[in-house]
Amino acid sequence: MNELERICHDIRVNIIELAFRAGKNSAHCGGSLSAVEILATLYHKHLNWNADDLDNRDRVIISKAHASLVQYCVLESVGRLTKEELYTFEQSGSHYTVHAHKDIEKGLEFSGGSLGLGMSYAVGVAYALKEKGSKARVYVLLGDGECDEGIIWEAMMFAKHNSLSNLTVIVDHNHLQADGFVEDVLDTSNLADKFRAFGFNTLELDGHSIDELSKAYSKPSETAPTAIIAETVKGKGVSFMENKYNWHFTVLPEGKYKKAIAELNAK
């Protein structure tokens, strides 16, 4: 296990830990576990972020905001959140709720919660940065279920029309949404073809491969917005959660919690 793989392992353990501590409030385990490598690779290897130069920071917008759980854990892994802050997740009065609340100094760019709105916001940010000549990049994480929302496609047309080459959209393509398989709920068919048709420089890769993600983050298009369709497994790393829609947002009881931790630690 290399260093970043170890970090991804620790992030998964933290996701399970926080989900258990959330108790009856439930937590979004499935869609957080699927995005671990996507965000960990981005934050640890590619993101330009300096607390003393926030104007030039790369912006990461979690449009599938129910995955704020994994974002909090990744932010803890890069030292922007403390363990104490992390452990307030889903506790009454905490800043760190199911859907992140904007706090730029902590690395939270956007107040999420309504699907699709992060994407629209992101193209506005990218337009502004491009016009101002900033070198900062905008990364936006979408869910494949989220792509049901019409505003996603409005924003995509805007991104292409304005040649927002400073924008990278990552789709966490885990094939599951709240009610079941994406293909059964509303078949979005080949998402990569759709992104290509909308003028995006589109890459398809294994969303759990740090190497493949890293290569993709390294080579965005210089003329068009880039889309990374990341093939992932919902619930990745915990066998009884993998590919199960009912682990989208669920209580994690003690027995299952212990089983999940044991499984992760056996790897």
Partner: protein, 326 residues
């Protein structure tokens, strides 16, 4: 800040121009150099907003996102987060309702000080029909925390309200009403103050509290009532629905009858606002709400529509006279 930015206005140039053209064709091109960070964003409605001249001279200040109101507000929020001041405009019916959740999320919850301009609110879209009438926008916008809701009465007040909004760091919705040939009410207008309603005509017996396009017919209705009854009628232009000048509304308690007049449903708009304030204290006078009943209109020209809902000087005065007979 606003006083620094305030521009001299020659009100006469706005005569016969209407609120939309006064702001976007006349005022904005003259002052844009004072607002280097200003962006005017539209969902394919700049021609209707009379922005052709502005776009030709200042293309760098304009952005069309296509017919996509939801994305219009999201893009405006993104631009605002990076230091631009954004005005987002479309017909009032679409910019308040098609993207209502985006308005709540970005402008109210996240607090981005976008200026939302609703064109042709009320019934002025005439033969376009009920899909194009915005007669619930005051109700749905005023409930959102932090958003100011302005409803200017004529072109001069509309220009001043717009000037205030683009100089402000608050989220604002401006509701533009009335036809292009609506007469001016104000010759002069100093700094716009959303906290202070304008007393246009004093009187002791009856108070008409009105807003937007209904201010002019209310002034005429007041004269009719005075001639027919000998009573004196006060007329107040409540040009800001949020924030509210509670003191001026409360001061009308000394009347025997309070009337509200609005080109809006009587549910949730100006009438409801005034009722809420009056009910905070005992022994308030009777309140009559003149506005649109909670039903769709029979489509026709603007005059036909106003008459249908009793929103003319004659209609308003008849409602008052009937009430006085009770």
């Amino acid at each position: 800040m606003q006083s620094d930015m305030e521009h001299k206005l020659d009100s006469s140039v706005f005569e016969g121009q209407g609120q939309i053209a006064s702001i976007f064709n006349l005022f904005l091109p003259d002052v844009i150099q004072d607002y280097p960070n200003l962006k005017i964003l539209s969902s394919d409605m700049s021609y209707g907003a009379r922005l052709e001249r502005f776009k030709a001279f200042y293309p760098e200040h304009f952005l069309n996102v296509g017919i996509a109101e939801e994305n219009l507000i999201g893009v405006s929020a993104g631009l605002t987060s990076e230091g631009y001041k954004c005005v987002a405009l479309a017909q009032a019916t679409f910019i308040t309702m098609r993207c209502y959740e985006q308005v709540r999320q970005y402008m109210s919850y996240m607090g981005y000080p976008i200026v939302l301009v609703g064109l042709s609110a009320g019934l002025v879209m005439q033969f376009m029909g009920n899909t194009h009438y915005a007669i619930e926008d005051l109700a749905i916008m005023r409930v959102l925390p932090g958003i100011e809701v302005l409803s200017p009465a004529d072109s001069v007040e509309a220009v001043r309200a717009f000037e205030y909004a683009i100089s402000s760091n608050k989220p604002v919705y401006i509701r533009l009403t009335g036809s292009a040939d609506a007469p001016l009410i104000y010759d002069e207008y100093e700094t716009y103050n959303p906290h202070k309603a304008n007393l246009l005509k004093d009187g002791e017996d009856i108070s008409i509290i009105t807003t937007g396009s209904m201010v002019t017919p209310s002034l005429e209705a007041a004269k009719i009532v005075e001639q027919k009854t000998g009573k004196s009628v006060r007329v107040i232009d409540l040009h800001s629905i949020q924030p509210l000048d509670k003191e001026t509304i409360g001061s009308c308690r000394d009347s025997e009858l309070i009337v509200t007049a609005e080109e809006h449903y009587t549910i949730g708009g100006l009438g409801s606002v005034v009722a809420d304030i009056l009910m905070e204290k005992p022994n308030s006078p009777r309140l009559v709400k003149v506005g649109i009943d909670n039903k769709y209109s029979v489509v026709g020209d603007y005059g036909f529509l106003l008459q249908q809902h009793g929103l003319t000087p004659e209609g308003i005065s008849q409602t008052i006279l009937k009430e006085l007979e009770k």
